[in-house]
């Protein structure tokens, strides 16, 4: 097994990319789907942003250091990872806020319909935000939930917008974005895709899939740092027809004219709202340079090899763990999840032994695969540690059962 893993690492076309990141010694990090690792050199470049751009240029940084255009520059980098152009991507705010933005925009394009349809296994904040929007709007708006199995049958002409996360955050199961978007369009609804577990994990083709709107996260596979700004996508055909519900000055046609009346900016900029958080945004901007020249099809290929290897090694070592991620490559994202009633304690023990994944209620152990900084030998070593945790019952300690604030 070790010989095979070493050979795979030797042949890995992405092996040199690991140097673009700082992975702590003694840690195998399988949680890049929750928080990506620190890109190499980011700390140094952030010192420059803080000490020089802010400290010395002060307010002049908006022009001199190009802060005012930073959201657009970051949007350009993200656009190339999600299959669209910079003029369809806006960067800023949190994923939750961006869900609100695109959902309210989508509803405005289907004014006679009242239903938002989503997956009951969708990441909760998407459901909470949709629920909050229906409450705010009243007038019969409602959120309906289905599952991946019942989604198409539930879709009908009452549905204004379908809000789905491409990759399920617990199971790693993946929707066929292009096919589902076609189904949604057949019923005349808007397709909104949450790319939190997609962007930077594998090639995404928003334009080609015909998506209407999308949102995504900056701090998972994009490595932008904890709570990094999120992004949103508006299909080019909708750019001039959506009026933002969150209409802040940065989305104004001429923010520095300080006029009383709101006139939305020409294109995607209208989806920006307040003053952008330059420090967090600079970190994301720097982090995205780690994708420079990266062929995302190679990332996808390696991701699937890592997933297959992990499934194989864990299943043969730990039969008491139940695989919940699809075995079929096309049906999954870039993570592997197992189920166990003692999942929480098992994960704590695993972390204490140097393998960092995470736990999702009620019983899911998640392992994210990030091909730019993970090696095949890491995957083998992680499986070996998991085997030890299970066979020696290292998890069976009171300290591993007491829940932390963030699990």
């Amino acid at each position: 097994m070790m010989a095979s893993a070493r050979e795979s690492d030797r042949r890995d076309p992405l092996k040199d990319h690991r140097t673009r990141f700082t992975v702590p010694d003694g840690v195998i990090y399988l949680d890049g789907n929750s928080l990506g690792v620190l890109p190499a050199g980011l700390g140094h470049r952030m010192s420059e942003v803080i000490e020089h751009q802010w400290g010395e240029r002060l307010v002049r940084g908006w022009n001199d250091a190009g802060w005012i255009d930073l959201p657009s520059r970051v949007a350009g980098k993200i656009a190339s990872l999600v299959g669209t152009s910079a003029n369809c991507v806006a960067v800023g705010d949190s994923t939750s806020i961006n869900v609100f933005k695109v959902l309210s925009a989508a509803l405005s394009l289907r004014p006679s319909r009242r239903v938002i349809l989503s997956d009951r296994n969708n990441f909760p904040t998407d459901l909470y935000v949709a629920d909050g929007l229906t409450r705010l709007l009243g007038q019969g708006y409602e959120l309906k939930l289905a599952t991946a199995e019942t989604m198409i049958d539930t879709l009908d002409e009452s549905v204004a917008a379908v809000l789905l996360t491409e990759v399920d955050y617990r199971t790693g199961e993946r929707y066929d974005m292009a096919a589902m978007t076609r189904h949604i369009h057949e019923k005349g609804a808007m397709a909104i895709w949450d790319l939190c577990h997609s962007a930077g994990a594998f090639p995404v083709h928003l334009d080609a899939a015909g998506a209407d709107f999308a949102v995504g996260c900056g701090y998972k596979y994009l490595n932008g740092g904890p709570g990094a700004p999120a992004f949103l996508y508006v299909a080019e055909r909708h750019l001039t027809s959506v009026t933002p519900a969150l209409s802040g000055w940065m989305g104004h046609n001429a923010p520095f004219a300080f006029t009383t009346d709101y006139t939305p900016a020409e294109g995607i900029d209208r989806m920006e709202v307040g003053t952008p958080p330059i420090l967090s945004l600079s970190a994301l901007n720097i982090a995205l340079d780690a994708f420079e020249g990266v062929d995302m099809t190679l990332v996808r290929q390696k991701s699937q090899e890592l997933c297959d290897r992990f499934i194989f090694e864990v299943e043969r070592r730990c039969p008491e763990l139940e695989l919940v991620t699809p075995r079929e490559r096309a049906m999954r994202g870039s993570q592997v999840s197992f189920r166990h009633p003692e999942g929480y304690a098992i994960m704590q023990a695993l972390i204490a032994n140097g393998v960092i994944g995470d736990f999702r209620a009620p019983d899911i152990l998640r392992f994210g695969m990030t091909p730019l900084y993970l090696r095949h030998t890491d995957i083998l070593a992680a499986a070996e540690t998991l085997e030890r945790v299970m066979h020696e019952r290292l998890w069976d300690r009171e300290e591993y059962r007491s829940r932390a604030k963030v699990t």
Copy 2:
């Protein structure tokens, strides 16, 4: 004049606080009302956040480094500057987003009323956001605008909420928050105060004034860095009665239970939305330490002395500049503004000569007074430079007339 300024500096009870900040050599910075200067040591402490908390602790930072509680800790620091307690302040998102949050909450508490009343000279993003909310809600909601002079007469029982910025961003004129809040309550409306030019500039007494809601900015007088997270305030009496329109997972009662249904958190936490931007928030958290032990009444006293000195020195040197800020101390915030048809070019020339203020369309030169890092001698020197710019017509150059993106 110089002797008097030097004497004032010598006697200044806040003189030692300047060392808490890094003001670049050769610059007199009168733009802390737009972007506060870099607090001393912040760069070093941010390196720790980036390299150690993120780089080494990785996802464990949410618990180990206390990221999950960081919004609450920052809220506690801000609360003490605005006259309330930590359980009434939520930190995160931009000011614009926070205006949306508190305005939608205020409207929900006056369901039979349809009017938002604001000041036509309010900072535009407040008006844009209010306008966007009325468009989203439809059903007869509308934004009405008055001026400081006509505000009380325009207030009637149709008004659900009055949205005012305490200090006018252009003129520096200040509303009497307590008196105006009483007028607003007499008509049964909700009082929402924008503290962007108040928090950190002088003592604010939200609870005592009876304010219902407030918002404020982290990057002006609080020195949190460009685009720092903003904050909001909800009066204790409303805490359990407002259901957030922007209902994200961080405002959920149990975010890590990952339940399908939204249940708001017990208190002010319900006003949080998405994952907090830890890097920008850490910078704000560090910056607020510069207020530790600071007596805000001394800040107010010195601010008014600096304003008076600047008005006196400029008016006698540059009679062609028209003062637009009230002379009466109680009627102004912590800035001094002058009007001139060539204001833009004058400000560019002034900046080129080492005095940084800013320009606000159509003709306002703004000078912010930040007593923690400004000296009386700075104010005198700034007036002398302005005199030179005016008398030698240094502003009369083509390069100073061409507008930058951010003015």
